[in-house]
């Protein structure tokens, strides 16, 4: 039985005259944990936006969760995909609490004209408990530290009950201790929920050890892919990043 959940063929994405992704093909099987690495501007984030329908294909095609990715299917598709981006600057006065922010994850699936039920609020509380944020649930979202904000973002993606989990540099711009906690949480979630996960990072120290496959991107293309053992070699990585790279020792890795 074909258990491919993401199939991208010859995808080309461009932003005006800049080609962000060129002739990218990728297949991802259900339950896989894939690490996507490469230097800044390699097209990693654009690849994620093709999967959740926010990136517009100029050429090629993408089928995700059985749906052809196009303008009509975008909203339906995104309801089934959890997305966690980098920590963003957020107004500390924003009138929304952590609990309400996490509930936003349910709103897509809930649809228009329907209010969250008591059971859904209980689900939100359970997920907040799981990510260790229950004690901060009533706090305004703008009052959280970077690490706490990412925990809330992960909780929001989880209450969405996604089939695919997209993580775009989730541990960037936060302190090393919080990075370690976030990465451990991501590994815990993957082992518990078995979601198909794509994890994007440019920093090798943030690459979770449970990665089953590594996709190396450079100049908007998939340059190489394979098992972490075959890809995490100094020679390959130095060519990928265009500078000498040493493989981080276990003690240097944040998780």
């Amino acid at each position: 039985m074909d258990n491919t959940v993401i199939r991208i063929q010859d995808a080309v994405v461009s932003y005006r005259e800049d080609v962000a992704l060129q002739s990218v093909s990728l297949e991802v099987r259900k339950g896989e944990f894939i690490g996507v690495i490469g230097p800044n501007g390699a097209g990693k984030t654009t690849l994620l936006t093709v999967i959740n329908g926010l990136g517009k294909l100029v050429q090629g095609q993408a089928v995700v969760l059985g749906l052809s990715v196009n303008g009509r299917n975008g909203i339906r598709l995104r309801r089934r995909i959890g997305y966690v981006a980098q920590v963003e600057n957020i107004d500390p006065r924003l009138p929304i609490s952590v609990r309400e922010t996490v509930m936003v994850g349910c709103y897509g699936r809930l649809g228009l004209f329907r209010r969250p039920t008591r059971a859904q609020w209980e689900d939100v509380d359970k997920v907040l408990e799981m990510v260790g944020m229950a004690h901060l649930s009533r706090r305004p979202i703008g009052h959280l530290s970077g690490g706490e904000y990412q925990r809330a973002a992960i909780a929001r993606a989880l209450v969405q009950q996604p089939e695919i989990f997209l993580l775009d540099e989730p541990a960037a711009s936060i302190d090393p201790q919080a990075q370690g906690e976030i990465l451990s949480l991501i590994q815990l979630i993957h082992s518990e929920y078995h979601m198909t996960t794509l994890f994007v990072t440019h920093d090798l120290r943030q690459l979770p050890s449970i990665c089953q496959r590594l996709v190396l991107m450079k100049g908007g293309q998939i340059w190489k892919e394979g098992s972490p053992e075959s890809m995490l070699k100094e020679e390959i990585l130095s060519r990928l990043y265009g500078a000498p790279v040493s493989i981080p020792a276990k003690s240097e890795v944040a998780f």
Binding site: Y15, R79, R93, P95, V104, Y107, L112, P116, A153
Partner: protein, 274 residues
């Protein structure tokens, strides 16, 4: 109170206070305060075109404000220009058109100046019904789409990523701003209406971290501003639009002075310095 014009004025103040404050909460939370200024000038330019060419000024105001909202959103979303720049371009165009239409207008410009300053004491029954209808629609839309609006104004990119029709809701908010400004143009005036949109909402923003409470507080401040301004206008014989705006500015000043969020700002500054 027994005079028809006074009853109309009190009801217009109530409706204007409610709708402008609700719209204000959206633009203040999204940090798009300049949108109110821009759409107000667009509505004013459209109304002047109506006065000049002899058709209903409110039709011109509605058309221009909706067109400006329809230009601003996509311009910003395509990323060719940032939102401030696109609003600034539309704003300067509308200001230019307003001056052009006023310059081309033959004879007395009394009606044009009424649209500029607003005159809540002379609001007609027809205008009042239009304003009440717009108020009912805006309040109804907020109840119907509260959760989507909350997601879009607080976390627009997240709303998009979880499958909420965020772009549609965002454009809906821009159009609602246009319709609200058009409906309040006669009573508050094109020059002053954006103050009534911004001040009550900005005052409420200083006082709470809950969107529901912020909406309620802004509406109370908006209605108090309108009624107090109306009373000042009636008893002191001063322009109503100006008195409403000055009242709302005083409320904003007081809310800022007593804001619990100022303590947070001081705490953050201390953290940065440390």
């Amino acid at each position: 109170m027994q005079y028809q014009f006074m009853q109309n004025a009190i009801l217009a103040a109530l409706c204007g206070g409610v709708t402008c404050s609700i719209i204000g909460v959206f633009v203040v939370t999204m940090h798009l305060s300049f949108i109110g200024v821009c759409i107000a000038h667009a509505a004013f330019a459209g109304a002047l075109l109506g006065v000049w060419l002899g058709f209903n000024p409110l039709v011109g105001a509605l058309l221009f404000s909706l067109v400006s909202a329809a230009i601003i959103g996509p311009m910003a979303d395509r990323g060719e220009l940032n939102l401030d720049t696109s609003i600034g371009i539309v704003f300067s165009l509308m200001l230019g058109l307003a001056f052009l239409f006023m310059g081309m207008m033959p004879g007395s410009r009394t009606e044009a100046l009424n649209l500029f300053w607003g005159s809540i004491l002379t609001v007609s029954r027809g205008n009042l019904i239009f304003l009440a209808l717009v108020t009912a629609i805006i309040v109804g839309l907020v109840f119907a789409f509260y959760k989507e609006i909350q997601a879009v104004i607080c976390h627009r990119q997240v709303a998009l990523a979880v499958g909420i029709p965020a772009t549609l809701i965002f454009y809906g908010l821009l159009f609602s701003t246009g319709v609200t400004i058009t409906a309040s143009l006669r009573s508050i005036g094109g020059l002053l209406i954006y103050s009534l949109i911004l001040n009550p909402a900005a005052a409420a923003y200083q006082l709470t971290y809950s969107l529901r409470r912020m909406l309620c507080i802004a509406v109370v401040f908006g209605v108090i501003s309108c009624w107090a301004g109306l009373a000042a206008s009636y008893f002191l014989d001063i322009p109503s639009g100006a008195s409403i705006v000055i009242t709302s500015s005083i409320i904003f000043g007081l809310a800022t002075a007593f804001s619990p969020k100022r303590k947070l700002k001081r705490w953050q500054q201390a953290q940065l310095a440390g």
